[in-house]
Symmetry: C2
Subunit: 398 residues, 2 copies
Amino acid sequence: MIRFAQSVTNLRTSEIRDLMSLATRPDIISFAGGMPGNELFPLAEMDEVYNSLSDKEKQMAMQYGPTSGLPCLLESLSSFLEKKGLPVKENKLMITTGSLQAINILAKAFIDPGDSILVENPCFIGAMSAFKSYGANMISVPLTKSGLDLKFLEEKVNADDRYKFFYFTPNFHNPAGTLYSAEDKKKIIQIMNNKNIPLIEDDAYSDLYFYPEDAEDLKTVKAINPAGIDVCYTGSFSKIIGPGLRLGWMLVPPHIYQKCELLKQSFDACSPSFTQVLADKFIRTEFIYTYIERVREEYKKRAEVMIKSLKENLPEYIEWNEPRGGFYIWLKLPEGTDSTEILKIAIEKGVVFVSGKTFDPDALKNDKIRISYCNTPEEVIKKGIPLLAEAIKEKCGK
Amino acid sequence: MIRFAQSVTNLRTSEIRDLMSLATRPDIISFAGGMPGNELFPLAEMDEVYNSLSDKEKQMAMQYGPTSGLPCLLESLSSFLEKKGLPVKENKLMITTGSLQAINILAKAFIDPGDSILVENPCFIGAMSAFKSYGANMISVPLTKSGLDLKFLEEKVNADDRYKFFYFTPNFHNPAGTLYSAEDKKKIIQIMNNKNIPLIEDDAYSDLYFYPEDAEDLKTVKAINPAGIDVCYTGSFSKIIGPGLRLGWMLVPPHIYQKCELLKQSFDACSPSFTQVLADKFIRTEFIYTYIERVREEYKKRAEVMIKSLKENLPEYIEWNEPRGGFYIWLKLPEGTDSTEILKIAIEKGVVFVSGKTFDPDALKNDKIRISYCNTPEEVIKKGIPLLAEAIKEKCGK
C-alpha cells in the first residue's frame, strides 16, 4: 500500500479537466476556457523579437538564470509595473513560472496543515487547489456587485486574527468578473490595517480594462501601498503576451520575499530563461503596450456581442454582471439550480461552460455559471449563446 | 510579527548562492557551477528549429498545454526514453518544469512533516532543499566507489519500513561523480524488494557517459523495471539541450502519477509550452542525438585535462574519482579538513569550487570539495587547477 502525504490523499480531480478536453473538440463551442484565443497571439512580434536576439542573448536563454529572474527582465518588468503605479522600489520582485506558482509559493510560505485562510466566494480554482494541497482551511467571504461583503470580512478578522492571509482578485475577478470599487478597496485597507494578516492580491487581468474612466477603481491595493498591511502582489504575462511562456511574478515586502526565494529555489531553481529573454524584449520593444491595446479592444467587442446575445436570449430571471474588463461573465441561476445538469444538456447542444460549484471554496453552491468570451470569436458567440439559453430554459423554465 | 509555516521558518540560504555570484565574475575561474558551458549550447540548431515552426505550432507554443505535457513532446520524448530501455508504456510520463520540479512534486506527494526518507551522502543540494521544505527527516546512506554502502541500506530498511522513499542518483552522481555498478544496482533491487518504499531515481546525467563499454552499468534501475518496487524516474533536458528551457520529466507508476498530476496542476498548471514545442522538434530532427554526441566528447576532453592537471598538481594524500561521465570530480581532503577555509584562500587566488558541507544531508562533514569541468574550457582548467592545488597545500601541507 502506497503511503501518500496527508494533505495529498484528499486531493481530487475537478470537473474542469474533463471540460477542457471537451472544449478542444472542434464540434463544441466552448465558453469554458480561461485562455486567450489562439488567433490573438502576437506571433509576428515574437518572430521579430526572436530574430533580434544576439548569440549572447540566446546563450542566456539556454542557461540557468538567477532564482529571482533574469536581471534584464526584472529591470524591464519593473518599469512596466511602475507605470501601473506599483511600489517596485520599496518591495522585492521575483519572476515565477506563471502567477499560479507565485500564489503556490506564498501558500507554502504561510500555510501549515489546518491553518485558516480567507478567500473570496467564488474563488479562482487554481489558487484553491494550491491552498488545499497545503491543508488550508478556507473561510470564504462572499463577493458583491461592488466588491466584497465588507461586514462579513470585518466580523471574521475581528473575531479571529489567526488567518494566515486573505487571498483576493479585485480586478476583473475570475469567475465573477467583478471590478472592486475604489471605495471597497479603501474599506478593505481600513479593515485589515494592523491585523497582521497579509493580503495576496492576484492581479492577472487589470490591463484588460474596457473603460479608461475606470482608472480610479482599477488602482490596485498594492499601488495604494497601505502602511500597516503586508500586500503580496501577483501578476502574469499569460493574458498580455501568452500563457505558454509560463511567466508571472510576485511583488512582495522584503521580509516575505526572502522565504519565497528559498522556496522558489526548491521548486524549479529558476523560471524559464528562454521565455524570460523573449518577454524582456517584448517589453523593451514596447510591443507589449500595442498588443495589450489590441486584445483589449478585441475582448471588449466579444464581451459586447456576448452581452447583447445574453439579453436577447436569456430569460428575465437570470442575472449577470456586465464585465468592464477581463474574461468572464457570471450567470446567476434561480436559487438552488444544479448547473451541472444544465451543463449536461448544453453539451448535447454543443456548448460548454464551467459550473459554479467549481469555484465555491465550500464546494456547495452550484447555481451559477461561468462563461468566458476570451477565446471565442464573435460569430461563434452569436451561435453559442442561444444554445446555452435553450439549455437553461429547459431546466429552469422560460 | 509575520507568521510563516513551520517547515519554512527553518529554511536558510546556502553558501552556494554567494558562490554563484562569484562564479560569474570574469576574473574568477569557476569550478563551482553545475551548468553546461554557454559556448556549448546548440544555438544554430535552435534557430533552425524555431524557423521551422508553423503558425499553428507557434500558437501552441504561446498557449496553455495539458498539465501532463504537450502530446507531441510526450510522444517524441517517449521514443527517446524507450531507446534508453525505459518502460514507458507500463508507466505514466509527465513533463515538468525542470527535473527539480519532478523531485519536488514527488517529495510533496509523500512527505508529511517529520517523515523519514532515505538519501545518499553526499546528496544533490536541490533535492535536499525540496525535502527540507516539506519537513523531511533525512537519513543518509554513505556512497562508495562502486555505488552505495549496501549493508547500511539493508540495516536501515530492515530495522524500519516507515521511510517514505529512497532518493538516489546512480548515474554520474552530483557531487560525487559515481557511476553505480550493475552489481550494486541489482543488490539495491534485492534489498528494496517488497519493502513498500518507493525509489526516486534521479537520472539527469546518464546520457553524458565517456565510455560506451559502461553500457551495462549505465542501465537505470527504472529500465530494469523491478517487480515489487515502485520506481519513480526523473530526467531532464537541462544537460542535453539547455537548462533555460526548464524542462524535465517524471516516469512513474500510474497510481503515483495520478497524485503527481494534481500537484503539478496546483504548482504551475503546465510546463512552458513554448520550450516544449522547441524540445519536441529538437528530438524529431534528431538534433538531440548529434548534440549529445558533441557535448559528450567535449566533456570527456575537459575531464581528461582536469584529471591530468590534478595528478600533476595535487599532493599525494588527496584522493578523487576519475569520472566516467557527468560533470563532477569529488576531492577527498584529509579527515576533518574545513574546505570552507580552503575556499577562502582559493577565492583570493581567483578560483572557486563548492565545499563538501553543501552536499551533506547532516550538514556536518566539510572535508570534501566538488569541482566541475562542465563549463570551463580546457585552457582555463589548466590555469585554475594549479591555483586550487596551491590553496589546498597552504591549508593541508605539501
